[in-house]
Amino acid sequence: MNRYETVFIMTPVLSADQVAETVEKYKAYLKENNAKIVHEESWGLRKLAYPIQKKSTGFYQLLEFEADASVILPFETEFRRDERIIRFLSTRMDKFHVEYAEMRRNKSKEAPKAAPATTEEA
């Protein structure tokens, strides 16, 4: 079991419901494959630093989970097949990354303002 962190960007054309549904789909996929979701974070609609597929904004979502290494490849294949996903990145977390992520989580719990702004609009 390794700890992984995945950030993916969804197209801005989705409604809030569709975004939630998409996120739910990937969480369900992970759970099916005996992964434990440690943390999730929605950054909301953010401006991209450069256009991707002619889109200048996107919904960012972060998932932190513990899973076997064999899960990652099919998990990323799901992303590639999904038209709603415009970009994704999975990284294996080393011990310093895990430490940092926990610190960051505690910090955002103490001061909710410091956490990335979450927008509710579509």
Binding site: A49, Y50, R87
Partner: protein, 87 residues
Amino acid sequence: MADKNVRYLNPISIDTQKEKYCRFKKKGIKYIDYKDASFLLMLCNEQGKILPRRLTGTSLKYQRKVGQAIKKARHLALMPYVADNLR
């Protein structure tokens, strides 16, 4: 020939370079976050290029991590690949 006649009243001050140090070693930062674009921007020039070690003083160990973090941030469109007037 005029150049040779230029004289300075005071010796030109050559600014002595401050001792460089690695900011990550000094502050005990072990992990460089690719999600924190505003921090990574400090290690880039205004075109979005990664600043060399000789300018930032970062140790080799952490410069590699900085490079990786910036490249990840670029992939996720948190930072631009090319830009003008970033700062």
